[in-house]
């Protein structure tokens, strides 16, 4: 599993005025990992992810993503990663195919490659017949899967998922994570934030953020052993409450 780290963060910090959103976090993510980033709302998950995806600049510390420096090479990072946000990101007034064409287009896929990948993707999603339907008409579960499929259209080696399953029912969430595991099995890396603790079990390794710091990091079984807890929910509650005392 180990190789050159896909993500390497060292003392990465981001302040907004006097508020320290992310406080000197250091960690590595390796190729082929499904790395979970847990934390309460406002713990700094999204800020950390935004720094790593080249959206905002860190205040201090260093980080590299796919070998690119987050300060100087954010353009290269943006070109190489995939991203799916917690809020729904497909255009409802466009058809499935038009969404695919648009997102493929902004990653620079030419029309031939795009047509090929779209066919393949729609076949896998079993949406071939619906390709010219408006996204609006699709059930939420399908949309979520479609959003992920669109996010990996340009075959990024690293995908960031920002709370990808927010507001989705458990069955669809399960299907969704199976999709993600499939993509990881192809040798790609996925970095996902979530606050569904049951989802943490899908991750090969995870970290828990509390108040901008990394409170714990390890595989689910390692963490259970280390903290003497039964599941991630308990671990999370322990870590989160201890910060108030």
């Amino acid at each position: 599993m180990k190789g050159i780290p896909v993500i390497r963060a060292n003392e990465l910090t981001r302040k907004f005025g006097a508020f320290v959103a992310v406080d000197r976090i250091s960690f590595e993510v390796h190729p082929g990992e499904l790395f979970g980033f847990l934390g309460a709302n406002g713990a700094g998950k999204t800020t950390a992810m935004r720094m790593l995806s080249g959206l905002i600049r860190p205040t201090s510390g260093t980080a590299s993503v796919l070998g690119y420096d987050v300060y100087r090479q954010s353009e290269a990072i943006k070109r190489s990663i995939g991203y799916m946000s917690q809020r729904f990101s497909l255009y409802e007034d466009l058809t499935i195919m038009e969404n695919i064409r648009f997102y493929g287009g902004i990653y620079g896929l030419d029309s031939r490659l795009l047509a090929h990948r779209a066919d393949e993707m729609l076949r896998q999603l079993d949406l071939e017949l619906q390709r010219d339907q408006l996204v609006r008409s699709l059930p939420t579960g399908w949309r979520q899967k479609l959003a992920f499929a669109v996010a990996i259209l340009h075959r990024p080696r690293l995908v960031f998922l920002d709370e990808p399953t927010g507001g989705v029912d458990p069955i669809v969430r399960r299907e969704f994570w199976e999709w993600i595991l499939n993509y990881v099995a192809l040798g790609n890396t996925v970095f996902a934030t979530t606050h569904y603790m049951d989802e943490a079990e899908y991750c090969s390794r995870l970290s828990v953020m509390v108040d901008g710091r990394l409170a714990a990091i390890g595989s689910p079984s390692e963490l259970r052993r280390q903290y003497g807890v039964h599941d991630m929910e308990e671990l999370f509650l322990n870590l989160a409450t201890s910060s108030f005392t």
Partner: protein, 375 residues
């Protein structure tokens, strides 16, 4: 981003914007229906031009000259001669009945006086209870009288004619369309470019698409450009359709140079687009963006651009507001070029002010946008 990729990305973006615009019936309606409706409403319903005002004539002279004059008044589309009065006391009654807008009193010996003394008094009595209407009908009547005098006396005319000479330069018939067509152009461009663009950009934010776009390799500036270019194109089409409509349907002339007019309009389009960008960098919801542009931009422009209310009559602070409104300068430019036929020499100052404002707005908006995205 390498150029080929950038081209593909930009193309995909513009295509998507077109689809958004053409798939939404409301958008289409606003884009293409509004200019048409505004021009037609202003042209035929809301005009402050007076048509077929009922007037009375008290002709005490009844000679060929006075008869010709009355005939001409009646023939004008502004007036219908509905009563002939025979006694001075009837004048008061005619007004009190409320049906008559104007009474033309022709004294006895009208024609003789004109030939003998080279001057003939004529009385125009208007209902002053509606001052605007009163002034307007007096002006109309005076201009018809002046025209008849010229025709009737011709070149053999005399050193002195009627006592007053009223003349509305550039718009002798006081066509209301001459004023509102430039005004409607300014308002339409503001609405389409500022409102539609800001709403379109904020929609991306509201639906959470903006974040995904920003993580993509497309640079923020390109995102904004791609969002605005379709509206720029549509506005240009709208300028042309407004001009064609007003030329063919409302008979408004374009006396100056058409390229100059279009050029000025393009500058103002960019102004409005930058205003839209500016609003979108502040607003977080489409509703805020819409009301922000309506209340913050559209209303002041409507009131202080000299289009509906004369700015010269306003108190100093309000006049200052009008100076900082780009639409005021644009309105002046359009009016000068279209109606007065001025060339570049006549409007370069206003054009310069407008361009300066546009440049500042554009820079501020782009900067503000970049800052927002840098979070």
């Amino acid at each position: 981003m390498p150029t080929k990729l950038a081209r593909i990305a930009f193309g995909a973006f513009i295509q998507k914007e077109w689809k958004h615009i053409f798939r939404d019936r409301k958008t289409i309606l606003i884009l293409f229906g509004m200019p048409l409706v505004q021009i037609l409403i202003f042209g035929f319903a809301l005009s402050n031009e007076v048509k077929h005002a009922r007037i009375a004539v008290f002709d005490q002279s009844n000679d060929s000259f006075s008869q010709e004059l009355v005939k001409r008044l009646d023939a004008s589309r502004h007036f219908d001669v509905v009563a002939r009065l025979n006694h001075p006391s009837e004048v008061q009654e005619a007004f009190q009945a409320g049906e008559i807008r104007l009474v033309v009193v022709i004294p006895p010996g009208f024609e003789n006086a004109l030939h003998a003394f080279h001057r003939a008094p004529l009385q125009l009595l208007a209902d002053g209870s509606d001052p605007n209407l009163g002034t307007t009908v007096v002006h109309y009547a005076a201009s018809i009288v002046a025209a008849s005098q010229e025709d009737l006396l011709g070149q053999q005319s005399l050193p002195y004619g009627f006592e007053t000479e009223l003349r509305m330069m550039f718009n002798p018939q006081l066509e209301a369309a001459y004023n509102f067509v430039p005004g409607v152009m300014a308002m339409i461009l503001l609405l389409i470019c500022a409102m539609m663009t800001s709403v379109a950009i904020v929609r991306e934010k509201e639906n959470g698409n903006m974040e995904v776009l920003l993580v993509s390799p497309v640079k923020p500036l390109w995102i904004i450009l791609a969002k605005t270019i379709p509206y720029l194109v549509l506005s240009t089409a709208n300028i042309c359709s407004i001009l064609l409509l007003s030329y063919f349907v409302l008979d408004v002339p374009v006396r100056g140079s058409v390229p100059l007019l279009i050029g000025g309009s393009l500058i103002f389009t960019v102004t409005a687009l930058s205003l839209g960008m500016f609003v979108s960098s502040i607003a977080h919801t489409q509703t805020v963006a819409m009301f922000g542009t309506l209340v913050g931009l559209f209303l002041p422009s409507l009131m202080f651009s000299d289009f509906m209310f004369p700015v010269d009559n306003m108190p100093e602070p309000l006049r200052l507001i009008s100076y900082i409104l780009p639409s005021r300068w644009y309105f002046y430019i359009v009016k000068s070029v279209m109606i007065k036929g001025l060339g570049l020499a006549g409007i370069w100052k206003e054009l310069l002010i407008l361009s300066g404002m546009t440049l500042v707005l554009l820079l501020v908006s782009i900067r503000k946008f970049d800052n927002r995205l840098a979070l």
